[in-house]
Symmetry: C2
Subunit: 379 residues, 2 copies
């Protein structure tokens, strides 16, 4: 539930003001002077000082380096202690598991990657996941109980409790309780979500969709998926199945990647197309044609500001975007801008981190959140 705009106690007012102060402080790592902060929060200098003192005592804010230069008495600077806690993001893919360790602002501190064959069974894949998590914790010299929250990405539909409801891409994966499994390695909440959805979230957070409130994200790879950002928020759907337009046979998203997979030539089909191979180019054209039907359906439904293409094929976006735009122009009333993800193969895992970060944000906003920073984990 979002923090309702409801009033209450005087302490509630202080809480709101502390939250805005933190929001401002997080905008710049270098920190702010009290005067700057006062201006940006809209509070008086005196009150700002009070709020900052409070937050410092509770451990959320620390004094930063004074900046030299400038006339007058140099001001103290204060910054949000993003380093006070850590978040974990895990992307369980077909070929590998990627784990990211970040600070509270989502800055990646360490990453660890464990290869995993596509045919791996449930137990082995979970073991690879554990390896990735242990590896990244080791790199950060942290134990799992120091984590504030974790996010996990997987293919397939995920239910509200962190169980995989249905997965066609991974063997023996349906029914896995990822939240429970990860919960044995890490402290704090473990949140599980579909990989396409999380990649969309990541684009909206740190990627090319940072400034857009309505985004259709397309995960273009050996499997095709979509994630929707609507009104600045990840749209999950009532049964967590939003964006599954590929299920419509006419859309042919299951068929689309086959055009590329069945490429009989040697080497990379995209490289071949760039070298002028006509059959490769034709196969890519067929792929885009199939892809575009589904994208058009999503775009016509939502009328987004932006379409973002990510996933494994995004590296060859130069060959995809042009034809995709042409196809969309055929079907859509207004073709949105199309951009290519720049998050490479970290996108999904970053989205998982964002899931964890949002959970922390929710707890902060929820009344009891800003009490001492030490009491935070296991909240």
């Amino acid at each position: 539930m979002t923090a309702e705009t409801t009033g209450g106690d005087l302490s509630r007012l202080r809480h709101l003001n502390a939250l805005t102060a933190i929001r401002v402080l997080r905008a710049d790592e270098a920190g702010f002077t009290l005067t700057e902060l006062a201006r940006r929060t809209g509070l008086s200098r005196a009150s700002t000082e009070d709020v900052v003192r409070d937050l410092t005592e509770r451990g959320w804010v620390a004094e930063a380096e004074k900046t030299a230069g400038g006339v007058g008495r140099p001001a103290r600077r204060y910054r949000f202690r993003a380093d006070a806690g850590h978040l974990l993001g895990v992307d369980i893919g077909r070929h590998r598991v990627l784990a990211l360790l970040t600070d509270l602002d989502g800055k990646v501190l360490h990453s660890h990657r464990v290869e995993a064959a596509p045919g791996l069974g449930r137990v082995e894949r979970l073991a690879a996941t554990d390896d990735a998590v242990r590896g990244v914790l080791r790199a950060g010299a942290l134990s799992g109980d120091r984590l504030w929250a974790s996010g996990v990405a997987t293919t397939g539909l995920v239910d509200g409790t962190g169980k995989v409801m249905l997965s066609e891409a991974l063997h023996e994966w349906t029914g896995v309780d990822l939240a429970a499994h990860l919960g044995r390695l890490v402290a704090g909440r473990v949140l599980v979500e579909n990989d396409s959805k999380l990649a969309a979230l990541a684009e909206n957070w740190q990627g090319v969709a940072r400034h857009s409130r309505d985004v259709v994200f397309i995960l273009s790879g050996v499997a095709t998926g979509a994630g929707l950002i609507i009104d600045g928020k990840l749209h999950r759907g009532f049964g967590n199945a939003a964006g599954e337009i590929g299920a419509l046979p006419a859309v042919g998203w299951t068929r689309a990647p086959e055009h590329l997979r069945d490429w009989p030539g040697e080497g990379d089909i995209f490289a071949a197309a760039r070298d002028g191979d006509r059959r490769a180019a034709a196969a890519i054209r067929r792929y885009v044609k199939d892809l575009a039907v589904g994208v058009s359906a999503l775009v016509l439904t939502l009328d987004p500001e932006l379409v973002v293409v990510g996933g494994g094929f995004a590296g060859s976006a130069d060959l995809l975007i042009g034809p995709l735009r042409a196809e969309l122009d055929r079907w859509c009333i207004r073709t949105p801008e199309i951009r290519v993800s720049t998050l490479a193969d970290q996108g999904v895992a970053l989205g998982a981190v964002k899931l964890a970060a949002d959970h922390v944000g929710t707890v902060l906003a929820s009344g009891s959140g800003l009490t001492s920073i030490d009491q935070f984990a296991r909240a």
Copy 2:
């Protein structure tokens, strides 16, 4: 912009508390005692009294009838003065213009209907609109400058300023500046929106979708349209073109109603189907089949809790819903519940009222909103 959860002054806290008090009070026309109100707002009795006194002085709240019975000293009751202002909702349809006059809570006080032939030109249709508005104002013995806000529904795409960008259904309608036109008759803001979107809004407000946050609404009539409620809010899209899935040729929404329109038999095709006419039944089946492709695309994209069918054909829903469900079952991962609108031909106009009501709500929430009630209009 939504009221951000931002802190501020002490007066801001009072403002928030006043807003919650009003929100509670609006829930029951009969009003509340101070004790009840205090419990529901979470404030102390003393503060609640203060807030209510304040609101009473400003004209937003009035004392209601004491309820008899019960032991002890009978408590005063307070109620929101929904009758303090009026809202207007206008639905400019192909065959008629419908104007509703309501109180601030959207309770319909008067309605006025003016017939209009489908072939009417711009000037004549605007004249009919004026007639409808003047008629409903006369019925309510109000002059236009007593209105706080108005909403207008029309077919076609509408831009942010209240101009019709594109309309295929009505003659000479593209480019009409409805906001400016209505503005000469009424005070306060005039908000214009597409009819399907507004019908969706109405269902979410007073109709069968009252308790759902994600809804696909289908306007099923001589023209087909859709409106989307996402996360409890009307989704417009970046270019205000959300839900226009009918533009996809494969969907065939433009074709769909023709199956019914071209019915060569005499009388109503639905009545004929009920009487056992096989050709009528077959035509209806074809209509539903065409309709269902688009609905499936919307449903797969959004995974809503609910699909609501409204519009002119909703009266014959008994013949439509079953087949529609069967078709959706074929395509969708999870077929949502399907309900039929009960708002009859008032749905669209009610949505227009909701648009106006929301505007009033926004002004209330925005800082200066709760000052004296008299200064409200022209805010």
